[in-house]
């Protein structure tokens, strides 16, 4: 992993390498250098498979993070590229022309996080949700409990117990 990182660092302004396993590493890329880095990895380093594209909502830092996980099947190695960009008017370059499967991931991210990928095919079609009328539900400022209370009615009589207290009561009724 280190050798690849050193080679890439000569070409692109990359962040530090986080080695999860000997054959899995993560590295931060500035948004402007994402496409050249992906192209370089795909065409010259053998990372031909886009395993997944997913997002993290860093609400406190007001950032979204996208993780592009690439795999080199021949070498049995994976690398994850992390890109951070502001949450306001979140938008990222589409990579559907590099991997057609990315279009599906981007559709999902547009719906669940509200991240725009200009030019991605069928981006604004509904993906999982139907008739959604609130902020995207995977954003951390979306209050799922509040939404559930407002939309779905409760059946009275449901109780919730704290598991620790409940087991204490069950096992040691005299408080020993």
């Amino acid at each position: 992993m280190r050798d690849l990182h050193t080679r890439l660092q000569h070409l692109f302004p990359l962040g530090e390498l986080t080695e999860q396993r000997p054959n899995l590493g993560f590295v931060t890329v500035p948004a402007a250098y994402l496409r050249p880095t992906l192209l370089h990895l795909r065409d010259l380093e053998g990372y031909t498979h886009l395993v997944l594209l997913t997002a993290v909502d860093w609400l406190e830092e007001d950032l979204f993070q996208l993780t592009y996980l690439l795999s080199n099947r021949a070498a049995g190695r994976d690398i994850g590229l992390r890109v951070k960009f502001p949450r306001q008017a979140a938008s990222m370059e589409s990579i559907h022309d590099l991997w057609p499967t990315a279009a599906t991931y981007q559709r999902e991210l547009r719906e669940m996080f509200g991240i725009d990928f200009p030019g991605s095919p069928r981006l604004h079609e509904e993906f999982i949700l139907e008739g959604w009328n609130d902020i995207p539900p995977y954003r951390r400022d979306f209050d799922t409990l509040k939404y559930a209370r407002a939309n779905f009615s409760d059946r009275p009589g449901r109780e919730t117990r704290d598991p620790e207290q409940h087991m204490k009561q069950q096992l040691y009724p005299d408080g020993a």
């Binding site: 008739g131 009328n133 799922t144 559930a148 939309n151 779905f152």
Partner: protein
């Protein structure tokens, strides 16, 4: 919230194989517009009792799995638990079924399909809610896309508790449903017809992209 209809549901001109052009309005042309009506029982109680006995002996489940509970149906319909020996069998289409088992959590998206399936079934029809998700939301009590009370949206004759209930619990539940039917207490279809507006308003409150006729059978 009003939404634009999907292209396949919009009124349009279609050219038939014989070259004749005709207008198609899917929401009106593909469905019968009549709303459900209450079916009264036979005049003589003994006749109605006989009907109910016969109904209890012929439960045809719609093979429609909505949540994780659908996994319990497979051992139930195969030799391990063999529900067929109790006269319960599965059918692939709502037209041939009279028992809808909501097997576990029901997302709003699936609810729409479940309502369509329920409405296409023939009366008398029964609904069994399976697992705690259909009763009070279960572990999905705070989910943004999962309904919490099934009986807000369709008439439920029987709930089977558990997360998930075992196939044995389901068999016991089906036996209980048979008792309810024989006692003439499983009147879900009539209840649906009576409180039709209430059910529809509940359904439309959660299904924001309502693009079906009110009763589509």
């Amino acid at each position: 919230m009003e939404q634009e209809l999907k292209p396949e549901l919009q009124k349009r001109m279609v050219k038939g194989p014989d070259g004749v052009e005709f207008e198609v309005e899917p929401l009106r042309d593909y469905y019968c517009e009549a709303l459900p009506t209450v079916q009264h029982g036979a005049y003589f109680k003994i006749v109605e009792d006989f009907f109910n006995w016969a109904r209890a002996q012929s439960l045809w489940i719609l093979g429609f799995g909505t949540g994780c509970g659908a996994i319990e149906m497979r051992p139930l319909m195969t030799p391990r638990f063999d529900a067929y020996r109790y006269g319960i069998q599965w059918r692939p289409t709502p037209r041939q079924a009279n028992l809808l088992v909501i097997s576990g959590y029901l997302s709003v998206k699936t609810l729409k399909r479940a309502i369509r399936a329920y409405e296409q079934m023939q009366s008398p029809k029964y609904v069994v809610g399976l697992g705690s998700c259909t009763i009070n939301g279960g572990m999905y009590w705070d989910s943004y896309n999962t309904i919490k009370r099934l009986d807000d949206y369709m008439p439920v004759d029987l709930y089977i508790v558990g997360c998930m209930p075992r196939p044995e619990a389901l068999l016991a539940g089906f036996e209980d449903l048979k008792k309810l039917i024989r006692a003439g207490k499983a009147e879900g279809a009539n209840q649906y017809a009576e409180k039709f507006d209430w059910y529809k308003s509940n359904q439309k409150r959660v299904i924001h992209d309502w693009d079906m006729p009110d009763y589509n059978w």
